[in-house]
Amino acid sequence: MTASDVGYNSKVEGEVIVTKADAVVNWIRKHSVWPMPMGLACCAIELMASAASRYDISRFGMEVMRFSPRQSDCMIVAGTVTYKMAEVVRRIYDQMGDPKWVVAMGACASTGGMYRSYAVMQGVDTIVPVDVYVSGCPPRPEALLDAMMKLQDKIGNETSVRNLTKTKKVASG
């Protein structure tokens, strides 16, 4: 399903648009992603640059970075996830309302990066489901924007209506 599938053509359809519920829901969701900046280390600086005027993430409708998980739907894990912090990352993820997505930004969040050590979790996908991984140490803002566009494509292909009935595991504490 692409954007043109839900495009409005007055010559063909008069004043009526016929489409699938998934297409409408996804189209709305993917153009209004509210990121939660989970800035944990150096990558967060590039995340900030992506939001600034030069790279301008608001071109994709994503400029509303929310520091409250209740108001955001895409967690961008930008930085090194230590085992001590992992608990916090998971709790914040659990507090985000559905639907929600996770982007692992940079080598650290994706795999632990160069930190092969006792203190660092070897990839944030150990504790939260990751939708898009971004390589780089740090990735340039362009790479993050590319990842966000990939995420938009992914959101566009979801079975959103069916997903409504699915339940997820939540940490109780």
């Binding site: 085992y83 608990e87 160069m114 092969r116 006792y118 203190a119 940490a171 504490g173």
Partner: protein, 205 residues
């Protein structure tokens, strides 16, 4: 000035001190029992008013004095550093008097030293871990602790339950990730130096 005369005077006044060989600043060995009174003297009488660093050394299992703490002081008057080295008496339950009553900045340094080496600082106002979580069972900078870590449960039991995650030894995949100090940046980036082994293929002897 921290010169020969100053050092001589210091050693004459404090018979318990001895000088240690050092390639940079003046380094003194002090017994842990005299440490507090000596630091008090250095701060009030000799103007060593700034504690720059406090850390520890693990000299390795089997050494007579396995753990020692190292304190760096700076004097704004002398424009110079002094390093004090004090050995912990007990190798199994190392302890050291806390100097945070004299230098408040020692508070967090001592917590870190406790966290990493397990040296107990007596009379410390708030001696708990600062980097690792409270229930962590090991002291990671001790010599016997592997860099990759040791299997341990996650700090939060409920998170561990839903995610099935735990603290696992990190894959070394050809040795620790280190950067070499010299050469082109592209060659000196952190990487495993010996890529001939992984956790699955044994390390060649």
């Amino acid at each position: 000035m921290i010169d020969e005369e100053f050092i001589k005077g210091l050693l004459a006044k404090h018979s318990f001190l001895s000088e240690r060989e050092s390639i940079d600043c003046l380094t003194l060995e002090s017994p842990s029992g005299e440490l507090i009174s000596f630091l008090e003297y250095l701060k009030t009488e000799e103007s060593f008013d700034m504690l720059v660093d406090l850390t520890a050394i693990d000299h390795g299992e089997g050494e007579d004095n396995r753990f020692s703490t190292v304190i760096h002081l700076y004097s704004l008057l002398h424009h110079g550093y002094i390093r004090i080295h004090a050995s912990c008496n007990d190798n199994n339950e190392p302890s050291m008097p806390s100097v945070s009553s004299i230098y408040p900045s020692a508070n967090w340094h001592e917590r870190e030293t406790y966290d990493m080496f397990g040296i107990k600082f007596t009379e410390h106002p708030n001696l708990k871990r600062i980097l690792m979580w409270d229930d962590y069972p090991y002291f990671p900078l001790r010599k016997e602790f592997p860099l990759a870590g040791i299997d341990t449960p996650l700090p939060a039991a409920d998170v561990a339950e839903v995610t099935d995650a735990s603290v696992e030894p990190a894959p070394m995949m050809g040795g620790p990730f280190v950067s070499s100090a010299n050469g082109m940046v592209s060659d000196s980036e952190p990487r495993a130096k010996d890529e001939s082994w992984t956790e699955k293929n044994e390390k060649p002897l």
